[in-house]
Subunit: 159 residues, 2 copies
């Protein structure tokens, strides 16, 4: 396989951008993610791939829950800021306004377009990531708007 | 949970559109899919959710392989045509030009923008779908172009 060509083709795949958040006690995780998809209507399930060595992975495993907050078109800077590594920027969650979700306590960002709260039902190690399958247990919409896409940002998390 | 609100929020999630193809002997599966995501850089892995009762699910399990063909912007009609059920339209693959992929034999559509061939590494039942995790083993680009998105088509496969 031509690895440069593989990267080119995989970067043509279409993604949205979301803030994945999770909370266990005082330990709060937040990261910008695009590797996710719905994977069942009934029950409503999502699959989310999280970096295997990330702080958020540890908090998701401890809490068994996470939320996905939809960024809005124009929120590239916010997505980039929350996409910085926890190791270098453990304070990043304090830079945004949020409140705990009603079903899971996962942070819901006030500036997001909308959100879903999820409870993990299973997980599968997938190379340098771990894939969490989770049931959507609560949802909310903060306002009407157009969702942010990976393409709009110019970020390159694929390949 | 308010199910109508849950559906509204999940339909804001961003998806591309792809023809997933698979072949085992003379048994050929093709379907239009949007529930997929990359889930590892190294090795390069994808996760694809396939309807549990679909013909393609059976062929993917028999062959252990599939290809994802990227639709191009403007190919809404093609995506809709290949999205019809195999039960009612078992001949649908004969309506498009294709050749078997070099690594897996999965059909590569001549009209697609590009493609990846994948070998299944694991699978997980997820409600009314099954989630296949697969390694990208070959890739190709037929031409430059803009990928088709679920949003462009107005199709509603989410919620």
């Amino acid at each position: 396989m031509d690895n440069a060509l593989k990267k080119t083709v995989l970067r043509l795949f279409t993604y949205g951008l979301y803030a994945a958040t999770t909370k266990q006690g005082d330990d709060v995780g937040v990261m910008t993610v695009n590797w996710l998809t719905q994977c069942s209507f009934d029950p409503p399930l999502l699959a989310l791939a999280v970096e295997a060595d990330s702080h958020s992975r540890q908090v998701i495993e401890a809490s068994g829950t996470f939320a996905l907050n939809l960024y809005e078109s124009g929120q590239r800077e916010l997505a980039g800021s929350l996409g910085r590594t926890f190791r270098k920027h453990p304070e990043k969650i304090t830079e945004v306004a949020w409140q705990p979700g009603p079903a899971t306590g996962s942070p819901l960002l006030e500036n997001a377009l909308g959100w879903v709260e999820c409870k993990v039902t299973s997980s599968l190690p997938t190379g340098d990531h771990i894939l969490f399958v989770a049931e959507v247990v609560e949802a909310g919409l903060n306002r009407e708007g157009v969702p942010l896409t990976l393409k709009e940002t110019g970020f390159k998390y694929a390949g």
